[in-house]
């Protein structure tokens, strides 16, 4: 009798997982929020990074590398802005199982990507392509920190347990190396790219608070309502300070 009950529970569990999975799939065809992150004012001059201490990294940069704090694109838009759903997911929304791992590559004494989103529990594969010593220190307030060492080419997995925008990652051997990871309880985030645009797909119908976060210029929010499979536009503008 008991065994039967456990089997039933297990079956129910499987069904639930299946449903969640399908919900995730269904989300792929949900609503979309897209937009551009504009930049106004004088583009700040980023300071040069002296990599002479690391010949292996210096050789990977044909032109002198500069700090990545503010990256203004050729079309006058702002890159590396983390845009995500801050609030508005329907009550009872269940996040899909964590997507495949995100790779954070240390290449040329730089983190690639510099800004990215990650789900709670999703694996972050921290890769050292430089083959020289890097340490990777994560600093958050809602997540426990970590500080690990990679003296050679290797990959180390890590996960985060709590939503937090942002957790900072840094290398203390190379003081200029830093990255920002937005840890979310859902998959709805994007980062503005080389053309300043971003797209968040697969949203369930609803009214959302969308936040755009930049490491120097702070955060802005917008309210966007999406229904069905429609696409809504939300542009943001950051001004030079």
């Amino acid at each position: 009798m008991r065994k039967l009950g456990m089997a039933a529970a297990a079956l129910a569990g499987l069904v639930a997982v299946g449903v969640a999975g399908r919900a995730g799939d269904a989300a792929q065809v949900g609503g979309t929020i897209t937009g551009k992150v504009k930049f106004t004012g004088t583009k700040p001059v980023m300071r040069r990074i002296d990599m002479s201490e690391e010949a292996a990294c210096k050789a990977k940069h044909p032109t002198a590398p500069t700090a990545e704090t503010v990256v203004v694109n050729a079309n006058g838009t702002l890159a590396n802005v983390f845009v995500y759903v801050k609030a508005g997911l329907p009550a009872g929304y269940r996040a899909p199982a964590a997507p495949p791992p995100v790779v954070l590559d240390q290449d040329g004494c730089r983190y690639h990507p510099h800004v990215f989103g990650l789900m709670v529990g999703q694996t972050l594969q921290i890769k050292n392509s430089d083959g020289i010593l890097h340490n990777i220190k994560a600093k958050g307030t809602k997540n426990r920190p970590f500080n690990i060492s990679q003296p050679t080419n290797m990959t180390t997995p890590r996960t985060f347990s709590a939503p937090e925008v942002m957790v900072t990652l840094e290398c203390n051997v190379h003081g200029w190396m830093n990255a920002y990871v937005g840890v979310l309880p859902h998959p709805f985030s994007a980062v503005s790219g080389a053309d300043g645009s971003f797209t968040i797909r697969g949203l369930p119908p609803g009214t959302y608070t969308i936040e755009a976060w930049h490491e120097r210029y702070g955060a802005q929010t917008a309210t966007v309502t999406v229904a069905g499979t429609e696409t809504k536009t939300a542009d943001f503008t950051f001004a030079a300070k």
Binding site: L133, A138, T141, P145, F146, N147, P151, T156, S161, N172
Partner: protein, 543 residues
Amino acid sequence: MGMTKADRRMDGWADGAALLALLLLSAYPPIRLSAQDTTAGRAVYEKWCAGCHGETGAGDGPAAGTMLPRPRDFTGAIYQIRTTASGQLPTDDDLRLAIDRGLPGTAMPGWKDQLSERDRRDVLAYLKTFSAFFADTTQRPEPLVFGKEPGGGTSVDALRIGRQFYDSIGCRKCHGDRGRGDGPSAPTLKDDAGFPVFAANLTENWRFNGGSEVADIYRRLRSGLDGTPMPSFSDLIDQQFLTEAELWRLAQYVRSLSPARPPEVRDVIHARQVAARLPTSPDDSVWGRVERYWVPLVGQVMRKSRWFTPAASGVWVQAVHDGQQLALRVSWDDRSQSPDSAWLEFTDRVLETVARDDSTPPAPTPWPDQLAVQFPLAIPEGFERPFFLMGAATRPVYQWRWTSTPGGVREDSLSAAVAGLARGIDRFDPLPGTPLSAQAVYDQGEWRVVFSRSLATADTANQLHLRTGRAIPVAFFAWDGSNGETGTRMAVSTWYFLALDTPVRAQVFVSPILAAALALGLGLTLVRRAQRPRSQIRRRSDA
């Protein structure tokens, strides 16, 4: 009691409600207990801890501003000294040890002899209330489990393997080639809060905040020092980059960089008299055979602007003379050969972090490194010495001042060292044309400076006549320019003594033998004399 009640009720109630009740019951006792504990712990905390760690545990008490490293901020529950993996909470035992023993090299004292066991237990419980992480039952700090230290840790082979990994895992990047905390990344290091942090000087293990011995060092390599740039190396074992035994060898190598025992502080620096030529170069091989004396230094906190966080913890002093000249070598660890523009931002962070009592905070400048050796103007007859902190206007002291930038002491100075008179902390009058010479070398995080001067001087009004066989008061001052040290912001010692020993004459060895022979002879004579009358008396009585 509660359980039986709950059991009885379970018959009548819906299962869900019973479950809820059970959950509440199981949660209730620990909550109540911790509330009791923290009331007592809070009182202890507010009395003894809040002055540095702050009322809210944020590491920002009234005294925090003078400290570097800063007091622990408890609100993030990030602790450096743990037995757990990187990022994990410390165990209660980890916290207990830190409270009981204190943290060497920092302002945190041990409380074992100050507070009762109950007080310490209560305050530990209270510390944990500053962060929600300790209440989170998914956080279960477990000590890392690892094997024992392999033997033979001081053998040449063990140390060679240790050194190999010191290089291959990049320790030198921060700690430097010789471990003096002078690696290329050292000037950029910050802790989680953005405060400047020094890479540990691995040659001063008595100042390691997590303990000085091989096992302590190994544990730090496994756990990392959370909140600082020091990572954990545990993953490297999991990924078979190195074995646990090899990491132990590294710990043994790091231990070997420090002396077997912390340096002993002795009051008298003896300068032997040598027949051979005096070593005037800092790297003369003679210095290897001259006794070293450790002189601890502390921050200058008596006069404004005060300095609580000097870079140098002490200087090693060696001296020899040949009856005509004195050669005095001072060696001390310094992470930077100042002035060095690579350290300018660090200097800025230090000056911003450490509270000063200047009306206007100084702009960071590429200041030089400096050293001063101080004597009285004349060897005192009694115990009275001039004011140790650079004398006074009415009673100056005689000093040798060396700077890493020749011309820095005086615009027209050609020598890197000058003799002069200090008339208080802020007045130094050089004596031009003094026959003082100095040679310095900066080598992998260490300055070595040799001062040479003739013992005698014609100018006894302004210069000390150095005499053999006398206790000559001497004191030392050091400035690390890259640590923001200049003027009154410096490291100081108290008075010590320099004794110029003279060779022991043959007479000294012969005299005791003569004395002993004489004493024996006298003694025998006395005994005979004493015996004679007695036997005579006996004979008399017999008769």
